[in-house]
């Protein structure tokens, strides 16, 4: 798995002055070698930068609105085989995200890892999308564990 860099047009790294500064990218860790795909902990915390208060305001009032930043989140899910990763991908990819195109996600398979990359300006909707995805992913994995392995083609 990899930590995704913020591709946002704004300042690089942690100089993000939004209230939800962690939006620059989570690292959904899949550390186990087995089929159990669990998100290992939260995204690494970005240290909050210090701000000089603007005219007549405090640090909070100079913060940018969280929704106007592009947030990226990347998740890598290892599977026991390339075929199983493809199966999971094909099961999870077809349903479109709600709310038009506010949250975009892309699923790709490389070897036996399913990679999902989210991109959104709205951090709340991004969070909801990730949580929902993890719930459906968990169901797909349980299905594969209980009714798999895939028959030979």
């Amino acid at each position: 798995m990899q930590a995704a860099d913020a591709d946002a047009g704004g300042p690089a790294g942690g100089a993000d002055n939004s209230l939800e500064g962690r939006g620059q990218g989570g690292c959904g860790g899949l550390c186990s070698a087995g089929t159990e795909a669990a998100v290992a902990g939260a995204a690494p915390r970005v240290p909050r930068p210090q701000h000089a208060p603007g005219p007549g305001g405090d640090a909070l009032s100079t913060a940018g609105r969280p929704e106007t930043r592009v947030h990226i989140f990347a998740l890598g899910v290892p599977f026991p085989s390339h075929l199983e990763a493809e199966i999971a991908c094909a099961s999870l990819a077809p349903d479109r995200e709600p709310h038009g195109g506010i949250v975009e996600k892309q699923l790709t398979v490389t070897d036996s890892v399913l990679a999902i990359r989210w991109r959104a300006e709205n951090s709340r909707l991004l969070r909801i999308s990730i949580i929902n995805f993890l719930d459906q992913l968990s169901l797909v994995i349980r299905t594969m564990q209980r009714f798999g392995p895939p028959v030979s083609r």
Binding site: D95, N132, D135, Q136, R142, M144, V151
Partner: protein, 335 residues
């Protein structure tokens, strides 16, 4: 002799069914019931479905006495319905279709009801009254489409009943509609409610607002009982449904009527429809709660028809859709 597995979970019922050549081999189902005074929300409903669906799948296969290799096709509800619950069921259908290397079929939920109604009752070409918590339509088959002759212009009749049940804090177990029906039998006084038939269509949101308002007032003054209100609501909305069904039957010259959908379990509705049919010399068909209420076998049955007619749903096209009109599907399996 294809055997089809069907998954349904568009609202608060989740079912998995197996059908082979017109025989229902298995049809287990679970219902997500919320406390009195509340309705079911999409996220919680999806969570419920995810928790039980794999057990239901196993139950269905065991009850049917089949293994995964005996299944020829995997059918699931593509829509219409609630988003998160639909997705929860679709991902399982897609996964097992790939694990077992079987073709996938996305089915329209309304057509599932119709095809199961036709199978169970043997009705040849009825005017269909489809009434549930999510849908209210009058449908007739013509030239490869299930055409919508009349429908609700706002909420479904079952939605009106369910939301009224919340106001009176009527239990949702086994369903609010069932409990309203039992209370209605003890109602004595007919409270006058708005009657809103609009040509071929019906409207229920105004009646709901009205009765919610009336309930507060009349129960406080003791002018009527909750049973009277249940009785009055049923009599009013059911009469409206009978009227629009009759209108469609008159247009089509139809001699058969078929009621499908959860509200179709209601015996008072069946009684009123029967009276109308007898007056016209027509025959009424209805199913029992195993098939009226959302179930997996109805999706399997529609899937069976579609599979034999050559329909397939590629994975890339298999996304669910909350809006899916009954007449969008080309019914190639009928003449």
């Amino acid at each position: 002799m294809p055997a089809v597995l069907g998954f349904e979970g568009s609202a608060n019922k989740i079912g998995v069914g197996v059908v082979r050549d017109g025989a229902v081999l298995a049809n287990p189902r679970r219902t997500y019931v919320t406390p009195p005074g509340t309705g079911f929300l999409p996220g919680d409903t999806a969570r419920h479905h995810r928790a039980v669906i794999l057990d239901l799948l196993q139950e269905a296969l065991t009850e049917a006495g089949l293994t995964s290799q005996d299944i020829d096709c995997i059918a699931y509800t593509k829509g219409p319905g609630m988003g998160a619950p639909l997705v929860s069921v679709a991902v399982v259908a897609r996964t097992v279709a790939q694990l077992w290397n079987k073709p996938l079929l996305g089915v329209n939920h309304c057509i599932g009801h119709i095809e199961m109604g036709r199978l169970i009752t043997g009705a040849t070409s009825p005017t269909v009254l489809y009434v549930s918590g999510g849908n209210t339509q009058v449908i007739a088959y013509s030239e490869h489409r299930y055409r919508i002759f009349g429908e609700t212009i706002d909420i479904a009749v079952g939605n009106c009943l369910d939301r009224f049940a919340r106001v009176l804090k009527i239990s949702n177990d086994p369903s609010p509609g069932y409990n309203i029906e039992q209370m209605a039998k003890r109602g004595k006084k007919l409270v006058e409610l708005p009657y809103t038939v609009k040509g071929m269509d019906v409207s229920f949101s105004g009646i709901l607002s009205f009765i919610e308002d009336v309930a507060q007032r009349m129960l406080a003054t003791g002018e009527c009982t909750p049973e009277d209100l249940c009785f009055s609501l049923q009599e009013t909305v059911f009469a409206m449904l009978v009227e629009i069904t009759e209108r469609a039957m008159a247009h089509c010259g139809s001699q058969e009527a078929l009621i499908v959908g959860g509200v179709g379990c209601n015996l008072r509705l069946q009684e009123m429809m029967e009276t109308m049919c007898q007056e016209r010399g027509a025959r009424l068909f209805a199913t029992d709660e195993r098939f009226c209420i959302d179930n997996g076998a109805m999706i399997a049955q529609a899937g069976w028809e579609m599979f034999r007619a050559g329909h397939r749903t590629p994975l890339s096209d298999s996304g669910i859709t909350q809006r899916f009109r009954t007449d969008e599907v080309e019914v190639t399996w009928r003449d």
